[in-house]
C-alpha cells in the first residue's frame, strides 16, 4: 500500500459545483474525522453552477406554504415528479437557503434587511430568492469559499475521472487523470458521490458550458446504474441566437414581454392567459419553460417569428422597465447583451430563441441520493430523484443542489462509517487504464476519424431528431446516425500525444460519454409514446397516464442500444390533473 495511502478516502465527490461542494460540507459536518475529497476536471469556481442567473426557490414569506411550492413543482413537471421527493425538497429548501445566507451569500434584500423574493415562471407565489441576476455565481463562490473553512475537505483540482471502480458489487473508488501531468491514479473510496452536472453539450445550441458533457451520467451508466427520464430535456425559451447565452427568466419575471415580428405578445394565443401590463404569476411570460418554448415553434411555423442569420427568433422587450430597474435587478442581462450581442436592452429589444438548458433526467437515485449500486450516490443536475419530472420550474434547480447535495453527503457519510477501507490494486488499475487510453485514442493505425467531425454530426442529428418536437421517424433517423457514430468513434485518433494537459484526449473521452448519453436520450424518447412536459411527440399528442405515468430507466447493454424499463411515479397527495396556466 504505502505510496498509495494518500489516494484513499472515506467519501470521494466527483464534481466541484454547487451540489458537490454542498455534499462535501455535509460530510465534513457529519463527522470531522471522515476523510473527504472533491475531484473535478476544473477548479471548483469554474463549475457551471456559476452561470445560473435568476434565483433559487424556497418558501420564506407569510403568504406562502410548502404545499403551494410542492403543487407548482408537481404541476410544472406534468405529474412526473416523485411527490415524496418534492415534499422533502420543499420542506428542507428554506433551511438550506438560510444556511447559505449564514455562510455569506449576498442575497438581495428588502428595505428592512429581510430576504427579497421575485416571481418566477410557473410559480404561483413569489418565492425565488436572488442575488441580483448572478444567483448561481454567488451561490457557487459562497459554497467554495465556505468549503475552505473545513480542513478535512481535500481537493483534486483539474483531475478527470475516467472510470468507476466496482468490486464485489460495490463502488470502491475511481480512476482519474491528473490533467497537469497526465498521471493516472486509482483513488479508493468507501462512498462515491457523483455531482458532475448536466449534458447540454450533446446538443449544438445550448446555454451549457463546454464542460457539460454528462461525464458523471456516463460513468454511472457504464457501471450498470440506470439513467432515468433521459427524454426530458429543457429548452429555455430565451437564449441569444448565435451564442446560446442565457437571458434569465428573471427578465420576464421583472416584467419583460415576448413579442413576435408584429410586436404582438403571442403567448396569449397558446392558452397561457391574457396580456396584462404587469407580470401575472403562472401566466403569459411567467408560464412554464416547456410551454413557452413550444409556443415559439408554433409561432415560427405560422410565419410570425423573425428571420435571422441563425434561424428564427422573437424579441424580448424589457425597455419599459427603465434603466434604473434594469441596472439594479438585471445588470448581468445588460452586461451580456452589450458585450456579446452589441445591443443595449435599455434601448433595444433582445433577440431570443429557445435553447437547450437543463436535463431533467439523470442518474437514477432515491430520495437520499443513493443509486442502485451500493456505495454510489448522485446529486444535482446529474441525478434524477425526481423533483423536476417532465419539466423543471426555473429556480428549483439551485435549491435542489443544496437539498440533495446535503442529503447525498449525509447518506454517503453514513455508508462510509459502516465500510472497511477498500483494498484495491492501485497500480494495476492505473496501468490498465493507461493501456486502454493509449490503445483507444493514441494508436493512429486504426483510423483517422476526427473528433470535431463526429461531434458536429452528433449535434446535428440530436437537434433534428430529438428537439422540442419529436416523432418516431425523426427519432429513428437519429438513432441510426448515433449508432453509426458510435461505430465510427472507435476509429477516432487524436493529434496530441503529450501527457501534460492533453485537452484533446479529455475531449475525446467526453465525446465518447456524450455519444452514449445521446443514445439513452433517443431510446427513452422513442419508447415514450405520449406527450408530456418537455417531451412532445407530434405522433402521440396526448399525455397517457395509463401507460406512461412512469419513469423511464435506460440500462446499458455495453456495445448495443440501451434497454428501457419503467418505474411508477410516486404520487402522495396530488393526483394527476390538468396543467392550467393563465387562469
Amino acid at each position: 500500500m504505502g505510496q498509495f495511502e494518500k489516494y484513499s478516502h472515506d467519501v470521494l465527490i466527483v464534481g466541484g459545483g454547487g451540489a458537490g461542494l454542498r455534499a462535501a460540507i455535509a460530510v465534513a459536518e457529519a463527522d470531522p474525522n471522515l476523510n473527504v475529497a472533491v475531484i473535478s476536471k476544473v477548479y471548483p469556481m469554474r463549475s457551471h453552477t456559476v452561470a445560473a442567473e435568476g434565483g433559487a426557490a424556497a418558501v420564506i414569506k407569510q403568504d406562502d406554504s410548502m404545499d403551494l411550492h410542492a403543487y407548482d413543482t408537481i404541476s410544472g413537471g406534468d405529474w412526473m415528479c416523485d411527490q415524496d421527493a418534492v415534499e422533502a425538497f420543499v420542506r428542507e429548501a428554506t433551511e438550506e437557503m438560510i444556511q447559505l445566507e449564514h455562510w455569506g451569500c449576498p442575497w438581495s434584500r428588502e428595505d428592512n434587511g429581510s430576504i427579497a423574493v421575485r416571481p418566477f415562471g410557473g410559480m404561483k407565489i413569489k418565492r425565488t430568492w436572488f442575488a441580483s441576476d448572478k444567483t448561481g455565481f454567488h451561490m457557487l463562490h459562497t459554497l467554495y469559499q465556505t468549503s475552505l473553512k473545513y480542513d478535512p475537505i481535500q481537493r483534486y483540482d483539474e483531475w478527470y475521472v475516467t472510470q468507476l471502480i466496482v468490486e464485489e458489487g460495490k463502488c470502491q473508488g475511481v480512476i482519474a487523470i491528473e490533467l497537469a501531468t497526465g498521471d493516472i491514479q486509482a483513488i479508493a473510496a468507501k462512498s462515491v458521490i457523483i455531482t458532475t452536472g448536466g449534458c447540454g453539450k450533446v446538443f449544438p445550441f445550448t446555454t451549457n458550458a463546454n464542460i457539460k458533457t454528462g461525464d458523471g451520467m456516463a460513468l454511472a451508466y457504464r457501471a450498470g446504474v440506470p439513467l432515468k427520464d433521459m427524454e426530458f430535456i429543457q429548452y429555455h425559451p430565451t437564449g441569444l441566437p448565435f451564442s446560446g447565452i442565457l437571458i434569465t427568466e428573471a427578465a420576464r419575471a421583472e416584467g419583460g414581454h415576448l413579442v413576435n415580428k408584429d410586436g404582438y405578445r403571442y403567448l396569449q394565443d397558446y392558452d397561457l392567459g391574457t396580456p396584462q401590463p404587469e407580470p401575472v404569476l403562472r401566466s403569459m411570460e411567467l408560464g412554464p419553460r416547456d410551454r413557452l418554448s413550444q409556443a415559439f415553434i408554433k409561432e415560427a411555423e405560422k410565419g410570425k417569428a423573425l428571420e435571422g442569420e441563425y434561424g428564427h427568433y422573437v424579441n424580448l422587450d424589457i425597455r419599459h422597465l427603465g434603466e434604473k430597474k434594469i441596472n439594479s435587478k438585471l445588470p448581468f442581462v445588460r452586461e451580456l447583451c452589450l458585450k456579446y450581442e452589441n445591443i443595449d436592452p435599455v434601448k433595444e429589444m433582445i433577440p431570443v430563441r429557445p435553447v437547450v438548458h437543463y436535463m431533467m433526467g439523470g442518474i437514477h437515485t432515491d430520495i437520499n441520493g443513493a443509486t442502485t449500486l451500493p456505495g454510489l450516490y448522485a446529486a444535482g443536475e446529474t441525478a434524477c430523484v425526481s423533483i423536476n419530472g417532465a419539466n423543471r420550474l426555473g429556480s428549483n434547480s439551485l435549491t435542489e443542489l443544496l437539498v440533495f447535495g446535503a442529503r447525498a453527503g449525509k447518506s454517503a457519510a453514513e455508508n462510509a462509517k459502516k465500510q472497511a477501507a477498500p483494498k484495491i490494486d492501485h497500480l494495476g488499475y492505473a496501468v490498465a487504464e493507461r493501456k486502454r487510453l493509449n490503445d483507444q485514442y493514441l494508436d493512429t493505425k486504426k483510423g483517422d476519424e476526427k473528433l470535431s467531425v463526429i461531434r458536429k454530426e452528433m449535434h446535428k442529428t440530436m437537434e433534428e431528431g430529438a428537439g422540442i418536437y419529436r416523432t418516431e421517424d425523426s427519432l429513428k433517423k437519429s438513432q441510426k446516425v448515433i449508432t453509426e457514430l458510435r461505430e465510427r468513434f472507435k476509429k477516432v485518433s487524436i493529434e496530441d500525444h503529450s501527457l501534460a494537459f492533453n485537452t484533446e484526449l479529455i475531449a475525446a473521452i467526453e465525446l465518447s460519454n456524450m455519444l452514449e448519453i445521446a443514445d439513452t436520450i433517443i431510446h427513452s424518447a422513442l419508447n415514450r409514446k405520449e406527450s408530456r412536459g418537455s417531451h412532445q411527440r407530434t405522433d402521440y399528442k396526448e399525455r397517457d397516464d395509463k401507460k406512461f405515468l412512469a419513469h423511464s430507466l435506460a440500462y446499458s447493454t455495453g456495445e448495443g442500444s440501451p434497454k428501457i424499463d419503467y418505474l411508477p411515479v410516486t404520487i402522495t397527495k396530488w393526483p394527476p390533473g390538468e396543467r392550467v396556466y393563465g387562469k
Partner: protein, 247 residues
C-alpha cells in the same frame, strides 16, 4: 465573404520544447466570433494539440484569461473583428508559470485566497430556525462590489508588484478578504488582519490601479487595497495613541 485574420499563438509543450515559440494560424474573421471561438476553430480544424482552458463563454467562469496583444483579457469577451486587420498575439497570462501553451499554473492564487479566510467568521452562530441575518440594501452595497470577483486572475497578470514580488497576496485575494471584512454578518476582521497587513506587498502597492483597469467585473481591487491601507494605518495610530480603546 469572411476575411481571414492571423493569430500568433504562444506554444510550449514541456515534454518536447526547450523554449516557447509562436505559431501563426489564419482563421476566418467571423463577425460574431470572440477570440475564444477562433481558438476553438483552430483546435477543431487546424491543430488539435493547441491547449487552453475555457468553459462558460459568457464571462462568468473566469477560465479563459490570456494576454491579447500584451493586455490580460477574458478571451470570451473580446470580439475578433475589433482586432482587424491583425495579427493578434495570444500569450498565456503574465506572471504565472506556464504548464503548456496558453495554460498557466494557478495554484498560487488558490492558496492565497484560502489564506485570507474568505468566509463568514462569527463568535456565535444564530440557529437556522431563527431565520436569516438581517442585512439592509445599504449594508449589502458596502461589500457587494468586492463579491463580484470571478477569480479570473487578470489582475495578477496586470499587477507590477506581483510581477516582482510573488509572495504578494495580490489584488483579488485582498479584495475578497475585504469583501468579508465589510460584510455586516462577519466578525473576522482581526483574524484576517494578521494575514493581510503582514503582507509586505500591500505596502508596496502604489495605487497604479492596473488591476482595476483590467478587471472584467469592475471589482476595483485597487480601491479595496487602498481602503484597507487607510483603515489599518488608522487602526495602528489608534492602538498607539488610544491603547485603551478597543478599536
Amino acid at each position: 465573404m469572411t476575411s481571414n485574420i492571423t493569430l500568433e499563438v504562444f506554444r510550449y509543450n514541456p515534454e518536447n520544447d526547450d523554449e516557447p515559440s509562436f505559431q501563426s494560424y489564419a482563421v476566418p474573421c467571423n463577425k460574431d466570433w470572440v477570440i475564444l471561438d477562433a481558438l476553438n476553430y483552430i483546435k477543431d480544424n487546424l491543430d488539435g494539440t493547441l491547449s487552453f482552458r475555457w468553459s462558460c463563454r459568457m464571462g462568468v467562469c473566469g477560465s479563459c484569461g490570456m494576454m491579447i496583444n500584451g493586455t490580460p483579457v477574458l478571451t470570451c469577451a473580446k470580439f475578433l473583428k475589433d482586432y482587424l486587420p491583425g495579427p493578434i498575439r495570444i500569450e498565456p497570462m503574465e506572471h504565472f508559470p506556464v504548464v503548456k501553451d496558453l495554460i498557466i499554473e494557478m495554484s498560487d492564487f488558490v492558496d492565497k485566497l484560502k489564506r485570507v479566510k474568505p468566509y463568514i467568521i462569527r463568535k456565535e452562530e444564530q440557529p437556522l430556525s431563527e431565520g436569516e441575518y438581517l442585512q439592509t440594501p445599504a449594508q449589502l452595497a458596502a461589500y457587494k462590489q468586492y463579491s463580484m470577483c470571478i477569480n479570473c486572475m487578470l489582475c495578477y497578470s496586470a499587477c507590477p508588484v506581483y510581477g516582482l514580488e510573488p509572495e504578494f497576496l495580490g489584488p483579488a485575494a485582498i479584495a475578497l478578504g475585504q469583501r468579508y471584512n465589510l460584510d455586516s454578518r462577519d466578525q473576522g476582521k482581526k483574524e484576517r488582519e494578521d494575514v493581510i497587513s503582514q503582507d509586505d506587498g500591500i505596502w508596496q502597492c502604489t495605487f497604479v490601479g492596473e488591476c482595476s483597469a483590467v478587471c472584467p467585473k469592475d471589482v476595483d481591487p485597487a480601491g479595496a487595497i487602498q481602503r484597507y491601507k487607510v483603515e489599518s494605518t488608522t487602526n495602528w495610530w489608534k492602538s498607539v495613541l488610544m491603547p485603551w480603546s478597543d478599536k
